[in-house]
């Protein structure tokens, strides 16, 4: 029964997201696209935190690298091909994750958290201090990439509506890919590693290699999100890879409940909504956000995903 209820919920949500751009509200269509992009970002982190057991506090680095790669791969005075910049960003971010992963996966626990943060900060300084990406001012993407394949133009990103649908498709594909990945032999192995790494090694799994692969895949997907973000907003700054961004995405994942893809997506939407509402109230909205975070940790262990179960238990609606 539960399966059917959640499928219906998913179907309704997807339908709502597809229909929404018809409201012709440019602002909210863009906001929706932003939330979905952050949802992709959160999904990629959940693969690490929720399923591989790697708490990365530097995931913004790969998001930012994806965003910068998109801009840097694009020609200055012509629209780039979407089919060049998007894969290019994914590969660049994945490659960065692979290299950084070789270092950070030598550590575990608290060290891992600190070292991922430190490496992300290093990447931040690369873009902040040097001229490659326009320094601290950032850099503009002058034209939206073109989706043309020869004479065929499947869609046009200049159209806000079509752009939003494209992001929707990217989110659904990412979600499908990750769900599929978890059912694969590789996915079973990383979940096993999260559960009991020592035993996995004793069984003959080269666990570090699996973790490195998961780290790389997560980095590549974060790069996809970063690329979409750059395309949506048309400019990138070092703030995209600041540690606040890493903290925010971790917040989305935990808020939604780790180890639940639906939770990550919900967490991203909740984050964007909170940001929107709070910043409407006061310039010092981060104060409210901080308060929500502290309260959530103290009073809502397990995140939003655990909420239905908690409510059910609280109201004794135990009808199986």
């Amino acid at each position: 029964m539960k399966f059917r209820a959640s499928s219906v919920a998913l179907f309704v949500a997807v339908a709502a997201v597809i229909v929404f751009p018809f409201t012709d509200s440019a602002f909210y269509t863009e906001l929706l696209a932003k939330a979905m992009i952050l949802a992709i970002f959160a999904l990629s982190l959940d693969l690490l935190v929720g399923y591989t057991g790697l708490v990365s506090f530097g995931h913004a680095a790969y998001f930012g690298i994806g965003a910068y790669a998109t801009v840097l791969l694009a020609p200055k005075y012509d629209p780039a091909s979407l089919w060049v910049v998007l894969p290019g960003a994914v590969v660049a971010a994945g490659l960065a994750a692979l290299i950084i992963g070789l270092f950070v996966l030598r550590t575990r626990g608290i060290y891992f958290i600190m070292v991922t943060l430190a490496f992300a900060q290093m990447v931040y300084y690369v873009f902040h201090d040097t001229a490659i990406g326009g320094g601290s001012d950032g850099i503009y993407l002058n034209f939206k990439p073109s989706a043309a394949l020869g004479a065929f133009r499947p869609f046009d990103l200049e159209q806000a509506r079509q752009q939003c649908w494209f992001v929707t498709a990217a989110l659904l594909i990412t979600w499908w890919f990750l769900a599929r990945l978890l059912r694969s032999p590789f996915g079973r192995a990383i979940v096993g590693i999260r559960s009991n790494e020592q035993r996995m090694r004793a069984l003959g799994f080269a666990t570090v290699r699996y973790k490195l692969a998961a780290f790389t895949i997560a980095g590549a997907i974060a790069g996809l999100a970063g690329s979409l973000y750059a395309i949506l907003f048309g400019f990138v700054t070092p703030e995209l890879l600041s540690w606040h961004q890493s903290g925010n995405v971790l917040l989305m994942v935990i808020l939604g409940g780790i180890g639940s893809f639906a939770g990550s997506v919900g967490g991203a939407f909740a984050f964007v909504a909170m940001q929107e509402v709070f910043s409407g109230w006061t310039r010092h909205w981060q104060l409210l956000m901080g308060g929500v975070i502290v309260a959530a940790v103290l009073f809502l262990p397990g995140g939003l995903a655990a909420l239905p179960g908690r409510l059910k238990r609280a109201f004794g609606a135990d009808r199986g």
């Binding site: 032999p185 996915g187 559960s195 020592q198 035993r199 069984l203 080269a206």
Partner: protein, 249 residues
């Protein structure tokens, strides 16, 4: 001539200045259950850890079928055919019993890296996992989540996972710990079944069980081998009696 699969030569492991194992040599042959006895803290678990590669040796060699595997880390030794179980139950608590074994079998699958195929789609691995469960006597409990199995069943699952990897050498760290008499009897039966095809090292406190099943016994005290030989010799040994059996068993 016995078919020796695993041999330890002069294994020594120091923790700080303390020798947890000093100059330990023993050999495991196919068709034999080799029991490792000793009071608590004698270094039996350390010895298993050195053989399995969970701990690096300070000095000494581990030979698998005559090949030096001392430098191999634990997962490579596992792939080479050395399987181990743990003293404290060490399973994937949230997986079903079957999935525990299927995952164990997957470690041997060259296609384990595929990321888009269904893990349960590979029939050979499923069969191997099921066969291991059947052999360990858990066939009827395949779909139960491991955490909810009884203690004895979890111990059986420990062994089943090692079997699913197809290991030829079994290093079993107190497989009978905490078991009732009926469960113990079943486990001893299982060990006897496994004996012909495997070389088994059995660390165990249950004397009756050890002398019922062991073909060879090594007694360790304070990190050293005190005596090694057939059960009858150990039973008769004055040194063993004094150091170990003399105490209430």
């Amino acid at each position: 001539m016995a078919d020796v699969l695993l041999a330890a030569e002069g294994l020594t492991r120091l923790f700080g200045g303390l020798a947890a194992n000093r100059d330990v040599s023993l050999s495991l042959a196919r068709g034999e259950v080799h029991a490792l006895l000793g009071p608590n803290g004698a270094g039996k678990s350390t010895c298993i850890n050195l053989l399995s590669g969970d701990l690096p040796v300070t000095s000494g060699r581990v030979l698998l079928r005559g090949k030096d595997v001392t430098a191999l880390p634990n997962h490579k030794r596992s792939l080479a055919g050395i399987g181990r179980s743990y003293q404290r139950t060490n399973i994937f608590a949230k997986f079903t019993a079957f999935e525990n074994c299927r995952l164990a079998a997957q470690s041997r699958d060259p296609r384990a890296w595929r990321i888009l195929s269904d893990a349960h789609g590979t029939v050979a691995l499923r069969d191997r996992g099921r066969a291991a469960l059947e052999q360990a006597g858990l066939g009827a409990r395949a779909d139960i989540v491991a955490a909810t199995l009884s203690h004895g069943e979890q111990r059986q699952l420990e062994i089943a996972m090692v079997l699913a990897t197809g290991a030829a050498v079994l290093l079993l760290d107190e497989p009978l710990a905490g078991m009732g008499s009926e469960e113990s009897a079943r486990m001893i039966e299982l060990l006897k079944q496994l004996r012909p095809a495997h070389a088994i090292l059995l660390v165990e406190h249950d004397m009756d069980a050890v002398f019922e099943v062991a073909d060879r016994v090594t007694v360790m005290v304070e990190g050293r081998v005190l005596e090694s030989g057939p059960p009858a010799q150990i039973r008769a040994s004055a040194a063993v009696r004094e150091a170990y059996l003399g105490e209430p068993v």
